[in-house]
Amino acid sequence: MTMHKILVFKRFERLWHWSQMALIFTLLFSGFAVHGVYSLIEFGDAVTVHTWAALVLLALWAFAVFWLFTTGQWRHYIPTADNFINVARFYAFGIFKGEHHPYRKTYRRKHNPLQALTYLMVKIVIFPAIWISGIAYLLISFGQGEIFSWIGLGPIALAHTIAALAVLLFVIAHVYLLTTGHSFIDHVKPMITGYDDVELSNEELAYLKADEPGVLKEGD
C-alpha cells in the first residue's frame, strides 16, 4: 500500500458541490427571509430568488442523481460498519489527545464511514424532505394547489422549514469538520483541484496507470 495523489473528485462532482453550495446558501438566506426571520431582502424578491434557485438546484440534482448511478459513484455512500466505531471514538475522544484520524481514504471509499452515513442521510432523508415539501409549495404557488388542499399550505411550509433547519445544521457541522484535519485548506483543496492523497494497493496502482489516464497525478 502506497500513498498517491489521485483525482478523487471528478470535474462534474466539483461543479456539483460548489454550485450546490452556492444555491444552498442562497436558498437558506432567501428562505429564512420568506419565513420571516429577518427582512434583509424584500419579501417579493426573496420569493423570486428562492424559486429560481430551487428550480436550478432541482435541475442540478437531476444531473447528480444520473451521474451517481451511471458512474457507480453511488457505492461510496453505502453504509459500512468497518471502522465506524473507531471514527466516532476519534471525534469524541481521540481528537483531543492528538491521535491521528483512524481512517485512510481508499480508491473505493473516499469518505470515512461516519461521513458516508451522514451524506447518505442528507441524500435520502433531508433532501427528499425538502424537495417534496418544496415542490408541493411551488405547485400551490403556481395555482395547482388542489391536490394538496387536504394538507394545506401550513403543514407543507412547516415540513419545508424543518427540513431547511436540518440543512442549516448539516452546513454548520460540515464546515466545522473541515477544521479537524491538518488544516482547513487541506480539507478544502481536494474539492477545488480534485486531487487528494489516497492509499493504493499495487493492483489499483497498476490498473489506474494502465486504464485510467489522468486519475493519477502526473509525476506521482
Binding site: 427571509a33 420568506v34 419565513h35 420571516g36 426571520v37 427582512s39 424584500e42 419579501f43 417579493g44 420569493v47 423570486t48 424559486t51 429560481w52 471525534y91 481528537i95 483531543f96 489527545k97 492528538g98 400551490i140 404557488s141 403556481f142 395555482g143 394547489g145 394545506g152 399550505l153 401550513g154 411550509a157 412547516l158 422549514t161 424543518i162 433547519l165 442549516l168 445544521l169 454548520i172 457541522a173 466545522y176 477544521t179 479537524t180
Partner: protein, 556 residues
C-alpha cells in the same frame, strides 16, 4: 386658609382670562359658520361639462319634437320620455333606486334605504322630505309614497347631461333650514330633457359621492374627486387612464345593473367579458379574470395564486379617501345641540388635502373625525352582509354594535381577504328595548331634531310615526359599520408591495388561523429552530475549544 384663598383667587382670574381669550378668538374664527344649512353644492365640481365626444347613438334627443317642451315639472318630462321608452317605467319600478327596498336572498332580511338604520344620519324613513332628494323619483315625502305611479320616476337625475339639474327637499324642514335652497336658478326643463344620454359619473356621483350627508362622508372610496380624478386616484375613471363612467363596470340591461353591497360577489364565477358587454357581475375579475398578472415572472405567477384568497381591491386600493377629499371615520351624536346665541352653527376645523374646510362640529349632528389616505381595515369576507335592523335586539354592554356584520373565513373557498372602511359612531338607542330607533330629524314641527335639538322628542316622534313600540328611555350606544372598498383603484405601480402584508406587523398581522409566509407566527417552530442552531453552533465551538485546550496542554 388665607393662602388657599389667594391661590384660589389667582386661579379663578387665570381661568376667566383664558375664557375671555378663547371666546374672543372663537368669535372671530372664520372657521365658525352660523346656521345649520346642510346643502351640499353637489353640482360645484361636475358642472364643468367637458366637450362631448361624437355620439354613436341612432337617436339625437335634441331634435325630438316630444322633448321641445315647454315643461313645467319633472313628471311632465318623464311622461314625454315614457311615450317612446314605453317599457322603461316598468323596468325602473323594480329597481332599488326607486323601491328603496331589498329582500336579501340569503339572509331573508328586509333591507333597503326605506327601512335601514345606519350610523350616519341614522334613518331615511320618516325623513324623506330631506333624504329623498336622492330618490330617483319625484315628490317622495313619506313612506306612503305611491310606488306604482311611473310618472313620478325621475329620468333626468340619471340621464341629463347639462349639470344644471338639481332637486330640493320635498317637504319643509324647520325654519332654521329654510334658507338652504334659496337662490337657485330655475331649471330649464326642455334643455335638460333634450340633453339626455347614458349616465355619466356626474349623474351617479351627485348622490353616491355625497352619501352620509357630505362629500365622501360615507364610503371613503366614492368622493367628488371621482368627477375628474387624476390617474393615481382612480386608474379606471381618470381621463388620463380609461375614462370609465360608473356604468362601464356597473353594466346591465333593463334598468337593472350589476353591483350591490347587500349581497356582494367577492369573486366572479359567472365569467368574464369586455367592458360594456352585458353581464351581471361588476367585480374586478369580470374584466381582468382570476389570473390577471403576467405569467412571465415568478411574482406574476405567485400573485395569480393570490386571487383564490385575496380580493384584488386589497392590494390595488392601497388607501382610501385619496385625492384630497376626506372621509368621516367617527361621528359622535352626544355633542349635538350646542348653540351660539340661540342659533345652530358649524365649526370647520378640519382642512382636507384639497384645501376645503370640513365641519368638525355641527349643532344638528354632533362631532366628526375625518381621515384621508386611510389604510383600510382587512377581513375575510364571503360577500354576505347581515344588518342590525329596527327589529334587531342587541346587548349594549357587549361593546360597539355592528350595524352590518359579515361572515367569511380562511377555510371557506368562497371568502376573500377584503378591504373595508370602518365607521365608528356614538348614536342614540332605545334603552328599554335595546334596539336602534327611528329618529324624526326633518320637519317643520316641534319634535324634529334638526331645529329643536331634543333626542327624546325626536325618537318618540320617529317611532310613533312608524308604529314601532318605544320604551320612552334612550341612551347612547357605540356602533360600527363596515363599507367594502372597491373604487379608487390605483395604477399597478402603486399597488401594495408583498411585504406590506408578508412581514411582522404587516397589514394582515391581525388575521388568525392560517399560515402566511413572512409573518413569523409559528413561534414554537422558530424557538426550536433557534435552539437547534444555537445548540449546533455551541457544540462545534465547544468541540473546537476543547481541541485547542488539549493541543496547548500537549505542547506544554
Amino acid at each position: 386658609m388665607y393662602r388657599f384663598n389667594y391661590i384660589f383667587l389667582s386661579f379663578s382670574i387665570l381661568i376667566l382670562a383664558l375664557g375671555w381669550v378663547t371666546t374672543t378668538l372663537a368669535s372671530s374664527d372664520p372657521k365658525i359658520e352660523m346656521g345649520i344649512s346642510e346643502y351640499t353644492k353637489t353640482d360645484e365640481r361636475h358642472a364643468i361639462i367637458k366637450p362631448k365626444k361624437e355620439s354613436k347613438a341612432t337617436t339625437d334627443h335634441t331634435k325630438l319634437k316630444e322633448l321641445q317642451g315647454p315643461f313645467f315639472s319633472g313628471p311632465e318630462v318623464t311622461k314625454a320620455c315614457l311615450e317612446c321608452h314605453n317599457t322603461a317605467g316598468h323596468q325602473f319600478m323594480k329597481n332599488k333606486h326607486w323601491t328603496w327596498d331589498y329582500k336579501h336572498p340569503k339572509t331573508g332580511q328586509h333591507l333597503g334605504k326605506s327601512v335601514l338604520i345606519n350610523n350616519f344620519c341614522t334613518n331615511a324613513r320618516g325623513n324623506e322630505g330631506m333624504c329623498a332628494q336622492c330618490h330617483a323619483g319625484y315628490n317622495m315625502d313619506s313612506p306612503d309614497f305611491d310606488f306604482t305611479n311611473q310618472d313620478n320616476i325621475d329620468c333626468l337625475v340619471c340621464h341629463e347631461s347639462t349639470g344644471t339639474y338639481y332637486k330640493t327637499p320635498t317637504s319643509k324642514g324647520n325654519k332654521a333650514c329654510s334658507v338652504m335652497f334659496e337662490g337657485k336658478p330655475a331649471i330649464d326643463w326642455a334643455a335638460v330633457a333634450k340633453s339626455v344620454e347614458m349616465p355619466t359619473r356626474n349623474n351617479c356621483g351627485k348622490c353616491h359621492f355625497y352619501g352620509g350627508g357630505g362629500d365622501n362622508v360615507k364610503h371613503g372610496d366614492l368622493s367628488s374627486v371621482l368627477f375628474d380624478p387624476p390617474k393615481d386616484v382612480d386608474v379606471h375613471m381618470s381621463e388620463a387612464g380609461e375614462g370609465f363612467s360608473c356604468v362601464t363596470c356597473h353594466v346591465g340591461e333593463g334598468h337593472e345593473w350589476a353591483g350591490s353591497r347587500y349581497e356582494m360577489l367577492v369573486n366572479d364565477e359567472t365569467g368574464t367579458g369586455k367592458p360594456g358587454m352585458p353581464r351581471d357581475v361588476a367585480s374586478c375579475e369580470s374584466c381582468h379574470s382570476a389570473s390577471p398578472h403576467p405569467i412571465t415572472s415568478v411574482q406574476g405567477i405567485k400573485l395569480n395564486s393570490h386571487t383564490q384568497t385575496v380580493a384584488c381591491e386589497t392590494c390595488h386600493i392601497p388607501a382610501i379617501a385619496r385625492g384630497g377629499v376626506a372621509t368621516e371615520v367617527d361621528w359622535d351624536w352626544r355633542t349635538m345641540g350646542k348653540l351660539k346665541d340661540g342659533e345652530g352653527f358649524k365649526l370647520k376645523e378640519y382642512t382636507q388635502g384639497d384645501g376645503h374646510h370640513r365641519a368638525t362640529y355641527k349643532s344638528i349632528k354632533g362631532t366628526f373625525t375625518y381621515a384621508e389616505d386611510l389604510e383600510p381595515m382587512y377581513a375575510w369576507f364571503d360577500g354576505t352582509m347581515n344588518y342590525t335592523t329596527i327589529a334587531t335586539k342587541f346587548d349594549p354592554s357587549k361593546g360597539p354594535i355592528d350595524i352590518n356584520s359579515f361572515s367569511g373565513s380562511h377555510d371557506d373557498p368562497g371568502s376573500r381577504i377584503y378591504p373595508f372602511k370602518r365607521m365608528h359612531t356614538t348614536q342614540p338607542y332605545d334603552k328599554g328595548n335595546n334596539t336602534l330607533p327611528y329618529m324624526h330629524l326633518w320637519g317643520n314641527d316641534d319634535s324634529a331634531l334638526w331645529g329643536n335639538y331634543d333626542f327624546g322628542k325626536a325618537i318618540e316622534a320617529g317611532m310613533k310615526k312608524n308604529g314601532i313600540p318605544y320604551s320612552d328611555e334612550w341612551g347612547f350606544v357605540e356602533t360600527y359599520s363596515y363599507w367594502p372598498i372597491n373604487h379608487m383603484v390605483a395604477p399597478k405601480d402603486d399597488a401594495l408591495s408583498c411585504s406590506s402584508c408578508h412581514s411582522h406587523d404587516g397589514r394582515l398581522d391581525h388575521l388568525e388561523g392560517f399560515y402566511m409566509p413572512g409573518r413569523g407566527k409559528n413561534e414554537m417552530l422558530d424557538l426550536i429552530g433557534l435552539l437547534a442552531v444555537l445548540g449546533t453552533l455551541g457544540g462545534v465551538l465547544g468541540h473546537g475549544a476543547l481541541r485547542m485546550i488539549a493541543t496547548r496542554r500537549r505542547k506544554v
